[in-house]
Amino acid sequence: MAAPIAKSNLVMLKNAFKYVGLRGISTSRPASAQLTVRDALNSGIDEEMERDERVFILGEEVAQYDGAYKISRGLWKKYGDKRVIDTPITEMGFAGIATGAAMAGLRPICEFMTWNFSMQAIDHVINSAAKTFYMSAGIVNVPIVFRGPNGAAAGVAAQHSQCFGAWYSHCPGLKVIAPYSAEDAKGLLKAAIRDPDPVVCLENEIMYGTAFDVSDEVLSKDFVLPIGKAKIERAGKHITLVAFSRAVATCLDAAKELSTIGIEAEVINLRTLRPLDFDTVMESVKKTNHLVSVEHGWPQSGVGAEIVSRMVEGPGFYHLDAPPVRVTGADIPMPYAKTLEDHSLPQGKDVVRVVKKLLNVQ
C-alpha cells in the first residue's frame, strides 16, 4: 500500500496548481491580470456596443484600419459598417453628424484622432452638444461621447501636442473625464457611454501601451467607475499632489523619490475634470497642509489654476501651511528637438524640487 500523502503536502500541491494554473507565475494577488490602457478602452467600447444597440463609433480610420492607435481594433469585423463608421477627414462635419445622431436618440462615440483636431469641430462640442439641454429647458439631452488622445505624445511637435483639459473643463454642460490607468480607462469610458449627457474623454497616447494590474472585477462586463470621483493612488501625510492623466505617473515617480528621503506624498488621481472632485482634494489637504497641482498642459488658465484657486478661495486657505503651487508644461509651443521637448514638460524631479521647496527641505 502506498504511503498516504501528508495533508500539508496536499494543501501545498493544491495551492501550487492554483497559482500556476491561473497566470503562470505566482504574484501577491493571484486573481489579477495585466491590462493595457488600449485594451481597456477597446474592451470597454466593445462591451457597451454589445450591451446597447444604439451605441456606434465613428471617426477617421476606426473601422478598416482598426483605429489609428488601434483602440477600435476588431470592432469593425465584429459589428460591421452600420456601427463602426470610417469618416472622411472632415472633423466639423462628422462631429456635427455625431451630435445630430445623439440628439435624435442614438449613442455615438465620436473619435478625434487626436484632440488637436477637435478644434476644427469645437463649435459642435460646445454649442451643439454641451449647451442644448439647457437652452431647450431640459427637453433635448445629447448622449454623445467625444474621445481621443490628448496632450503631448513624443516628437510630434507643436500642432499635435496640446492639452485640452482646461478648454473643455471650462464649459458647463460637458462632463470631462481624463483616465490615467487601465482601470480608469475602462470604467470611466463605459460610464461615459452610458451617460445621457455629452462627455469628453481625454486619453493619452503615451499611456495606451502601458499595462496595469487589474482585478477580475475590472475585467467584468459591468465594471463602471463613477464620473466625478477622484482616486487616491497613493496615501501620504506630508503633501498632496493632484494630477490627471499622464501627470499622475509624474507624481508617482516624484512620490517614490520623495519617499527615500522620508517625505510621504499623497497622490490624487482626479479621474474627472468636470465635475472636479474638489472634496477629495480638500480632505487630503486638511491632512497634509500642502498642495501641489501637477499637469502637462500650459500654465495660464490651466486646470491647476482652477484647483489652486478653489483651495485659496475657501476654507482650504486656512489649512495650508505654504502657498499652493502648480507644476505645468512650460509656457511655450512644443518644440521638436529631443532635449528641448524633454524640458517642455514636467518630470518627477521637477515635482520633487517643488515639494522640497514648499517643505523647506534641502
Binding site: 462635419g93 462628422f94 456635427g96 451630435t99 445630430g100 437652452m135 431647450s136 431640459g138 427637453i139
Partner: protein, 399 residues
C-alpha cells in the same frame, strides 16, 4: 417714365393672375372642394424627372395653408412690435415673406419626419406644433415659452424639431446626423435641414453633403434663398448662386418659394427620393424676407424700398394664395375674412400672455444643465455662492 413703370407692373400682375386661374374645378354647394393649378416650372440638377407642375389643392388644405401662413405673418408682425417696445431683447429674425416655405414643406411631411433649421425659426416652430403663445412667450422670455424662456428666439424645440440653431451652418451636419439616426433606427424618416443663402457657403455643408451622399443619408438640404445673407446680396457672397446645383453630385431642385403649392410638391418629391434610400437631395426655395436680417437691421441700406414693395405687391405668398383660392371658388372672401379675424384674435391674446406671463424663478437658473447631474452644487457668481442644480425637463434621450 413713371407710367412705364406702372404699365410694367400691371403686366406682371396680369401675368400673375393668369397662373392664379385654376385649370380644373369640382363644385359642391357653389364652392369647390378641389381645384387644380399650374406651378412655375422647377429647375433640375442631376435629375431626369422632377416634381409635378400641375397640382391639386383641396378646399380643406387650402384653408389650412391660408390660416397657417396668416398666423405666421401676424405672429411675426407682433414679434416685431414687441421688439420695438423693447419687450423682446437680443436677436429676433423675422420670417415674414417666407411663410410659403415652411407651410408648403410641412404639408408634405409625414408625422415622423424631422426638421432642423437656423435662427429664422419662428415660422417653423409654429408649423411643427408650438402654438403662438409658446413662440411669443419664449421671445419675451416667460415661463409659458416653449423653452420656459431659457432659449429665446433662436432655441425653440418640439418633437421632431431640433431648433432653432444660433451658429450659422451648424445645423447642416446636425441635420445629416438626425437623418443618420432615422435610417439607423430602421425608419424611412427624412430630415429636412434648412439653411440660408449665406450659410450655403459654409464648409461644413459640403462636409455633410459628402458624408450624406457616401452613406445615402435621408437628408434634404434646403436652401431658403431670400437673396441676402444679412446685408450681403447673393451676388456679392457666392461665386455660384445656383444653390440647387451646389451639391454637385447631390441631385437638386430649384423651387419658387413664394408658391406654397410648388413648395409642397417639390418637398413631396424630395421626401420620396430620400425615403426610398436614394440618398440626399438639395432644394433651393427662392423666397424673400420683408424685414431686415434681424430687428437690428432696417433692411434698407443694402436694398431699395422699391424692391421690397415690388415683392409685396406682385409675389406675396399669402396674397397670391388668397387670390388663387378666391378665383377658383375654394373659399369665399367672407370665409377668409373670418379666418383673418380669428388669427388676429389668437395673436392678440398670445401677445397679451407674452407680456403678462411671469418669468421662471431664479431657482431655475441652475435647472437642466445636465440630464444626469453628478455634483448638484453649481457655483454662482462668487466663491460664496453655491446654487443647486434642478431637474425639470423630460430629457427625451434618456436613459
Amino acid at each position: 417714365m413713371f407710367s412705364v413703370t406702372l404699365r410694367c407692373l400691371g403686366r406682371q400682375v396680369h401675368q400673375q393672375n393668369k397662373s392664379l386661374a385654376p385649370l380644373f374645378t369640382y363644385s359642391k354647394n357653389g364652392l369647390n372642394t378641389e381645384a387644380t393649378f399650374d406651378t412655375k416650372p422647377f429647375k433640375l440638377h442631376k435629375l431626369e424627372e422632377g416634381p409635378a407642375t400641375t397640382v391639386t389643392l383641396s378646399r380643406q388644405d387650402a384653408l389650412k395653408y391660408y390660416k397657417d401662413m396668416q398666423m405666421i405673418r401676424r405672429m411675426e408682425t407682433a414679434a416685431g412690435n414687441l421688439y420695438k417696445e423693447k419687450i423682446i431683447r437680443g436677436f429676433c429674425h423675422l420670417y415674414s415673406g417666407q411663410e410659403a416655405c415652411c407651410v408648403g414643406m410641412r404639408a408634405s411631411m409625414r408625422s415622423y419626419d424631422a426638421v432642423i433649421t437656423a435662427y429664422r425659426a419662428h415660422g417653423w416652430t409654429y408649423v411643427m406644433g408650438v402654438d403662438a403663445v409658446g413662440v411669443l412667450a419664449e421671445l419675451t422670455g416667460r415661463s409659458s415659452g416653449c423653452a420656459r424662456g431659457k432659449g429665446g428666439s433662436m432655441h425653440m424645440y418640439v418633437k421632431n424639431f431640433y431648433g432653432g440653431n444660433g451658429i450659422v451652418g451648424a445645423q447642416q451636419p446636425l441635420g445629416a446626423g438626425i437623418a443618420l439616426a432615422l435610417k439607423y433606427q430602421g425608419t424611412d424618416g427624412v430630415c429636412l435641414t434648412l439653411y440660408g443663402d449665406g450659410a450655403a457657403n459654409q464648409g461644413q455643408l459640403y462636409e455633410a453633403m459628402n458624408m450624406a451622399q457616401l452613406w445615402k443619408l435621408p437628408v434634404i438640404f434646403i436652401c431658403e434663398n431670400n437673396g441676402y445673407g444679412m446685408g450681403t446680396s447673393v451676388d456679392r457672397a457666392s461665386a455660384s448662386t445656383a444653390y440647387y446645383t451646389r451639391g454637385d453630385y447631390v441631385p437638386g431642385i430649384w423651387v419658387d418659394g413664394m408658391d406654397v403649392l410648388a413648395v409642397r410638391e417639390a418637398t413631396r418629391f424630395a421626401i420620396d427620393h430620400c425615403a426610398t434610400g436614394k440618398g440626399p437631395m438639395v432644394m433651393e426655395v427662392v423666397t424673400y424676407r420683408y424685414s431686415g436680417h434681424s430687428m437690428s437691421d432696417p433692411g434698407t441700406s443694402y436694398r431699395s424700398r422699391d424692391e421690397i414693395q415690388e415683392v409685396r405687391q406682385t409675389r406675396d405668398p399669402i396674397t397670391g394664395f388668397r387670390e388663387r383660392m378666391l378665383s377658383s371658388d375654394l373659399a369665399t372672401a367672407d370665409e377668409l375674412k373670418d379666418i383673418d379675424q380669428n388669427v388676429r384674435q389668437v395673436i392678440d391674446d398670445a401677445v397679451k400672455r407674452a407680456k403678462s406671463d411671469k418669468e421662471i424663478g431664479l431657482d431655475e437658473l441652475t435647472a437642466d444643465i445636465m440630464s444626469n447631474p453628478i455634483d448638484t452644487r453649481v457655483r454662482g457668481v462668487t466663491a460664496f455662492d453655491t446654487l443647486t442644480h434642478k431637474r425639470l425637463g423630460p430629457a427625451v434621450n434618456s436613459p
